[in-house]
């Protein structure tokens, strides 16, 4: 055993690595001696917030995680649900916020790479990605640089590996200017019997490291980047930046799926945050076994790497497989076929200890399970933030709606041109969203719909899944409990518009520093809201990710619990899209408009404030609205379905007109002032259209579900006309909505001041 630290030096290093005094003492207690350098690095990373969820674990336990579809809940690299006929989908969402703030292209690219490895680790072929993005206002060059770089990076990686990016969301808000959010969700398809777990078993089995070489890149990434706040020292942390190699990842996908097809593996794990340390110790702890690794066997791309560097390196595109000795040759042949390096770096033991050697010399030796499961768990103090009273006290009804800023026609046009509402085409046209031939509803509607099946490889079915990721951070800022519920409701509503019944969710909980009681309170509230919403819908959380310390110069981001929801679609041939289709179709609003301008985009545009209370939400009503639309879709009666979200009814109608290239004549029957009827962001509303002869069935079904509805008017002409109010040619709506992102960013390609902090 190499004793490279004295009892005096060890605590100093521990502190430098971010271990708290009590955590260090716990390490000493576990080991019964002074830890080595390698051990300290390994514990500090595994017990970092990013790897151990030490501040969030307790709250996360309140999520419902079981349900009829669930094959694998939280705890593995991704959750898995059955979707019928033996098919299953694996999915998970993850953040790569901090790396992306430093280098947006590579940060976002490696974020996609990381979440995709989580998916094929489960034995699933990745079939789709979504990206959920937050930046500051695009008027700032730095924000344009981050946005443009992140989109290019997501596309650069996903396009290369041939996994379509089918949806996502993006918001631009001051609260994210110092700390952008890059959340990526990946979905994979597998046969149920193929479900693979990241577990090491069978003493004597070999540990096979597959894929890229190991360098110093990303060393300490997990603890350094994701577990601390941002400040001017971010610059110094730059050497941690990792460069993605999507080609290597593509080879890994194919090789790993081949290895699993050939039943050549006992277990498979990906190397993500904390690298080899984390994947190996998690696999060992799940299998209740020990491991013995010799770092000199790990292929290295840099000279004189220390054992601890090798053990914690976050070099991308690497997988760890457990292989029986008898199958080694065959497994390595598969890797070689795909041009991948594969190296035996150690073996599974029955000692329960994680032993790391450098050649003959032992440099770390600890109980394997303690790395993953002995991590501390904190129950941080929570305190309702003082700002809430102030923002909630804002009386929206007292606003002067007679002012020019609220003139409905021009407000509609400026809402359409708001970066938070305008067309996202500029983004998704940089993403291959069609490869694999399963994208039945392309980006631009509410949810993307993916066909279940393997065109060109195997069976193709008429079943589908509808997917959406959503979170309005403003609502969460104004009322975290409600905001989180609305995030869920909106995701489910988008999926319902595509005829999908929610089956399960993943989440990515982006918050500030959890050690601040006011931040932690918002976290706890959001989790409670999300959990309650899931319960009402009977929908489990099957995977997720927490990203804390999203602050810059002491200012936390808006609480942003992003929800990624997967719903089941019975028949992909019946699915409606958001666009109006045919002259004469009748437009029906399912749901009810109320005075909900608090936290709205209209309020922000007209008054320049984010204040008031978010829209109220009745989850049972929300569910009934969805059920109405899903059943109508299943009957094949809907020509279009589009939910009302930011910008309200007027925006939903305008979008259906623009994307359909056809106008509408609408009468607002409500009793509120027109701006409220038009721009209220009341929840639980879906605008549908159907052939005139089907209106009766549509309204009858709404009645049966006790859901209010309103006959709004008809699809007609080339103008969106609000009777007795105003009308706008569809071409004018399109001209406002369509070119915004391109004009703000695309028109000035690369003119961003890249170095400007």
């Amino acid at each position: 055993m190499r004793a490279d630290l004295t009892p005096e030096l060890a605590p100093e290093l521990a502190a430098e690595l971010g271990l708290k005094q009590s955590e260090y003492e716990h390490v000493v207690e576990i080991l019964g001696r002074t830890p080595t350098v390698t051990e300290l690095y390994m514990y500090s990373l595994m017990w970092s917030e990013h790897c151990s969820y030490k501040h969030s674990k307790k709250a996360l336990r309140t999520f419902p995680t079981e349900g009829e579809h669930v094959l694998q809940g939280p705890g593995e690299n991704a959750g898995v649900i059955g979707v019928g006929d033996g098919w299953a989908v694996a999915f998970k969402m993850e953040s790569h916020n901090h790396p992306s703030a430093i280098e947006p292209y590579q940060g976002a690219a490696t974020g996609v790479g990381g979440i995709i490895r989580d998916i094929f680790t489960m034995g699933a072929r990745p079939i789709a990605s979504l990206d959920s993005l937050r930046f500051g206002p695009l008027e700032e060059p730095r924000q344009r640089y981050l946005f443009e770089g992140a989109v290019a990076g997501i596309g650069g990686y996903g396009n290369c590996i041939g996994v379509p990016t089918v949806g996502g969301e993006v918001y631009f808000e001051e609260a994210y200017a110092g700390n952008c959010l890059i959340n990526a969700m990946s979905i994979g398809l597998l046969r149920e019997e193929r479900l693979t777990r990241a577990v090491a078993a069978g003493p004597g089995n070999l540990l096979l490291l597959i894929g890229s070489t190991t360098g110093r890149d990303g060393i300490g990434g997990a603890s350094v980047l994701a577990s601390q706040e941002f400040d001017e020292r971010a610059e110094e942390k730059r050497p941690s930046v990792q460069v993605g190699d999507p080609f290597e990842e593509k080879l890994l996908i194919e090789a790993c799926l081949d290895l699993l097809d050939g039943e050549l593996l006992v277990g498979l794990g990906d190397l993500g945050a904390a690298g080899l340390t984390s994947s190996a110790s998690e696999m060992a702890s799940r299998g209740g076994v020990g491991l013995d690794i010799d770092v000199t066997r790990v292929p290295q791309r840099e000279e004189a790497m220390k054992p601890f560097e090798i053990m914690v390196s976050e070099s991308q595109e690497r997988m760890l497989a457990v292989v029986e000795p008898a199958k080694l040759a065959e497994a390595q042949a598969v890797c070689e076929k795909w041009g991948l390096r594969s190296t035996v770096i150690g073996k599974v033991t029955d000692t329960g200890r994680f032993v790391v050697r450098e050649g003959d010399e032992v440099v770390a030796d600890m109980p394997a399970a303690t790395l993953a499961s002995d991590a501390p768990e904190y129950d941080p103090p929570a305190e309702r933030p003082a700002y809430l009273d102030e923002v909630q006290a804002f009386d929206v009804r007292a606003v002067d709606f007679g002012s020019p800023a609220w003139e409905p026609r021009s407000l509609l046009l400026s809402l359409l041109a708001s970066p938070n509402i305008c067309s996202r085409r500029w983004i998704w046209e940089q993403y291959d969203h069609q490869v694999m031939l399963n994208t039945m509803v392309l980006p631009g509607s509410d949810a993307a719909v993916l066909r279940i099946g393997e065109p060109g490889r195997g069976e193709v079915t008429t079943r589908g899944i509808a997917v959406s990721s959503d979170c309005n951070g403003r609502y969460c800022y104004l009322e975290p409990y409600l905001g989180a519920q609305i995030a869920f409701a909106e995701a489910a509503r988008n999926v319902a518009c595509a005829g999908g019944r929610p089956a399960a969710i993943t989440d990515c909980l982006n918050f500030g520093n959890p050690e601040k009681p006011e931040v932690f309170w918002t976290f706890r509230e959001a989790v409670r809201g999300l959990a309650d919403a899931c319960r009402v819908f009977g929908v489990p959380v099957i995977s997720g990710n927490v990203s804390f310390y999203n602050e810059s110069f002491g200012q936390p981001i808006y609480p942003t619990p992003t929800v990624g929801l997967v719903g089941l679609v019975g028949n992909i041939d019946r699915v409606a899209t958001a666009s109006f289709k045919d002259e004469g179709d009748v437009i029906v609003l399912i749901g009810e408009t109320r005075f909900d301008l608090g936290g709205s985009e209209a309020l922000k545009l007209a008054e320049g404030v984010v204040a008031g209370l978010p829209p109220t939400l009745d989850l049972q009503r929300e569910r009934d609205v969805h059920e109405t639309v899903i059943e109508l879709t299943e009957m094949g009666l809907l020509k279009s379905a589009h939910d009302c979200s930011e910008g309200g009814l007027a925006i939903a109608l305008a979008e259906s007109c623009i994307t359909g290239g056809i106008g509408a004549r609408v009468r607002l029957a409500g009793s509120m002032r027109p701006v409220a009827e038009l721009f209220s962001e009341s929840q639980s509303r879906i605008v549908v259209s159907c052939a005139p002869e089907n209106v009766m069935i549509v309204t009858a079904l709404a009645d049966r579900h006790r859901v209010p509805f309103a006959l709004l008017g008809t699809v007609e002409g080339d103008t969106l006309a609000f009777e007795d109010l105003f009308d706008v040619p569809v071409s004018e709506l399109a001209a406002a909505w369509e070119p915004v992102l391109e004009r703000l960013v695309g028109g000035q390609v690369s003119t961003e001041e890249m170095a400007e902090g």
């Binding site: 650069g156 396009n159 290369c160 041939g162 080609f247 060109g456 695309g746």
Partner: protein, 231 residues
């Protein structure tokens, strides 16, 4: 008839091409880039994707795959070879087709459905009538076709330009190509018309379930021709 669809490390549209061909009632198999026996196939397709990551230059490494020597022989013997997207780039690198494909003007990856005008050409693959305007997705970062003036003259004179990017009504404007391609060129063939390279992805719009049917006729021309010859 039987198509061989070559899989290079980094290819990612091979299953889409196979699906489209099977939808058209044809047989289609995957051919690993390390294989060298193409005797089982009537036609070869190099699919889209990012062979070797497209890191050095698109198609630069794939062109040296063992299978490529056979593909060259196959093509030179007059048998049909098509390259779609990355496949086109590989054919250009292998000098089976003239010109080269540069970064898109605007430096952005482009995935969208665009109108194409089918030209009067000697291409044996094409089954659309000249003048037809079709809608087919493009999906690339390097589709900006370029060649020298003399080659361009020859391509035009010999009927080797198979499809051009155009306006929805079929007219050609200087900016009709989304990627800046010379003369709006989206696809070309060799002088004999058996080797066809194109940037757009007809396989994505062959099975109507996947969004269109304009793609099928990019493949059926060769099927008809071979069936006529074969009797």
């Amino acid at each position: 008839m039987r198509f061989g669809v070559v899989v290079f490390p980094g290819s990612n549209c091979e299953q889409d091409v196979v699906h489209a061909l099977r939808y058209l009632g044809q047989e289609a198999d995957y051919v690993w880039h390390g294989d060298t026996d193409l005797s089982a196939y009537d036609a070869i397709i190099l699919p889209g994707g990012f062979s070797y990551g497209d890191y050095i230059r698109c198609g630069a490494v794939a062109r040296f795959s063992p299978v490529m020597a056979e593909v060259v022989r196959f093509a030179e013997s007059g048998r049909p070879v098509a390259g779609i997207c990355n496949g086109f780039q590989i054919l250009a690198e292998a000098h089976l087709l003239p010109g080269a494909l540069l970064r898109n003007e605007g430096l952005k990856f482009i995935c969208k459905t665009v109108p194409l005008r089918v030209e009067e050409s000697v291409c044996q693959w094409m089954d659309h009538e000249p003048g037809t305007v079709v809608r087919v997705p493009v999906n690339h970062n390097e589709g900006n076709f370029i060649c020298d003036a003399e080659t361009l003259g020859r391509l035009n004179a010999n009927g080797q330009v198979v499809v051009r990017y155009c306006e929805p009504d079929g007219s050609l404007l200087p900016g009709s190509a989304p990627n800046g391609a010379l003369d709006n060129i989206a696809g070309i063939c060799n002088e004999r018309g058996n080797v066809f390279g194109l940037m757009p992805h007809p396989e994505r719009v062959t099975d109507p379930a996947t969004g269109g049917t304009d793609g099928g006729a990019f493949f059926t021309g060769i099927v008809k021709r071979l069936e006529e010859v074969g009797g």
